[in-house]
């Protein structure tokens, strides 16, 4: 290219223009589909996510659903059902089991918050709400135990019924504790695992104790 050999730029020529980098495709239709999806779709999506997590608790494996897509609907439902089933155990029927109901609520949520703070102070990598989510969902086996206990108590409240309840509650307590430590203990440094597991053990023990000592009037 002989012509080009003579080309030389003697001075700085300012170069200007526009560089646009397409950042994904934001067509108006896509905005509508993600931001304006029908409400029914959102509800169904969330309900399915909650159901999936219940299944993952019953068969504890490393589950990304419980850890990454956390939500607190499951713990709320479980907490309310457990508190409903636990009320009516006081002699003072005029009070309508009021204090017991709020007590169960406070024990579960306050206990879960304290455990989460504890694990965060020990240097855990899991986030606050993830931990609450796991602890809340792992109350499911104990809620099942409560249901079984109430059914057994309908049949009678003698020694046999107590032994059955003891076995059921004990088994579910073990299941809850194992399930939650399976999810939570991994996020801790190895030498701190016992320090994290112990409060979880205590938490589910208190709930199991409330279930076991429940006697309807």
């Amino acid at each position: 290219f002989p012509g080009l050999a003579d080309v030389s730029i003697s001075q700085d020529i300012p170069v200007e223009g526009e560089i646009t980098v397409p950042v994904g495709s934001h067509s108006p239709d896509e905005d509508y589909s993600t931001l304006d999806e029908p409400v029914k779709d959102t509800i169904m999506r969330d309900l399915k996510a909650v159901g999936k997590k219940f299944v993952h608790v019953m068969y504890p494996r490393k589950s990304s659903a419980l850890l990454r897509d956390w939500d607190l609907w499951g713990p709320l439902v479980l907490c309310v059902s457990l508190a409903l089933m636990l009320q009516g155990g006081s002699a003072d029927s005029k009070d309508d089991g009021g204090p017991q109901f709020a007590e169960v609520f406070v024990i579960i949520w306050f206990g879960a918050v304290v455990i989460t703070l504890n694990s965060k102070l020990l240097g855990g990598t899991i986030s606050f709400f993830q931990s609450l989510c796991v602890l809340g969902y792992c109350v499911l086996p104990l809620t099942v135990a409560m249901l079984v206990c109430r059914l057994v108590l309908l049949a009678g409240s003698g020694t046999v019924s107590f032994i059955i309840r003891l076995i059921v509650v004990g088994a579910m307590f073990g299941w809850s504790t194992l399930a939650s430590t399976a999810f939570l203990a991994d996020s801790q440094p190895p030498n701190r695992k016992a320090l994290v597991v112990y409060p979880i053990f205590l938490f589910y023990f208190v709930i199991s104790w409330m279930i076991l000592t429940f006697t309807p009037q």
């Binding site: 994904g24 959102t42 309508d96």
Partner: protein
């Protein structure tokens, strides 16, 4: 501008295309999302009304507690996931990436579409969002001082849920405003990005950017 047909002939009957009648009505309406506006206020106000008048509805503490709790939860979910997006074009959520790090994302829609929100809707939204946590805080003090402590758990739950939404949306709004000031400084008004968002990780580091997913 005028459609090309209008320039053809002065005596010809020309129909200018303003869009369908529905779109026209939508643009004129003061409230474009009546259902969302209704539900935004419905759950919050029902919760407060039930708390104030629960003795009239039922003797049972437990049923009042559960009802108010359910109303508060539905309100939290609907305000966070539905009415915020529809009424003011803001959205906030928590995202956990593959490393297990948790990020809070605050997103503000910037380009107005036909069905975007009106000023009346925005005013109703912010009014409902701000006044209810204030009312629940007043309930907190009245419960505390009248020593009706069994309601305290419920009032605290109400305050937390409603304040969380308030805080999230204020963050979105401020993030959008701050980013729009920076954008006008850098780009002029020509190249305005469609959505601004801020991601805040749990350890406090912050990044601005445009997001696409979720």
């Amino acid at each position: 501008g005028l459609s090309p047909q209008a320039l053809v002939d002065d005596t010809e009957d020309v129909s200018l295309d303003f869009g369908s009648e529905e779109e026209l009505a939508l643009r004129k309406a003061r409230i474009r999302h009546p259902l969302a506006t209704f539900f935004h206020l419905f759950f919050r106000v029902s919760g407060i009304v039930t708390y104030l008048f629960c003795d009239w509805f039922s003797n049972s503490f437990v049923s009042c507690f559960v009802t108010i709790l359910l109303l508060l939860s539905f309100d939290f979910w609907s305000v966070k996931n539905v009415t915020g997006r529809l009424l003011v074009g803001l959205h906030w959520w928590n995202q956990i990436d593959e490393d297990g790090k948790s990020h809070w994302v605050f997103e503000a829609k910037r380009v107005p579409t036909i069905a975007a929100s009106t000023e009346a809707e925005a005013r109703i939204f912010w009014f409902g969002l701000i006044i209810c946590p204030v009312i629940w805080t007043m309930f907190f003090f009245s419960t505390l001082f009248s020593l009706k402590l069994k309601w305290l758990a419920l009032v605290i739950a109400g305050i937390s849920l409603q304040t969380a939404n308030l805080y999230g949306y204020i963050h979105c709004k401020l993030g959008g405003q701050k980013a729009s000031r920076e954008t006008s400084r850098l780009f002029g008004t020509a190249d305005v990005p469609k959505r601004q968002s801020r991601r805040i990780s749990e350890d406090g580091t912050e990044e601005h950017g445009k997001t696409g997913t979720r």
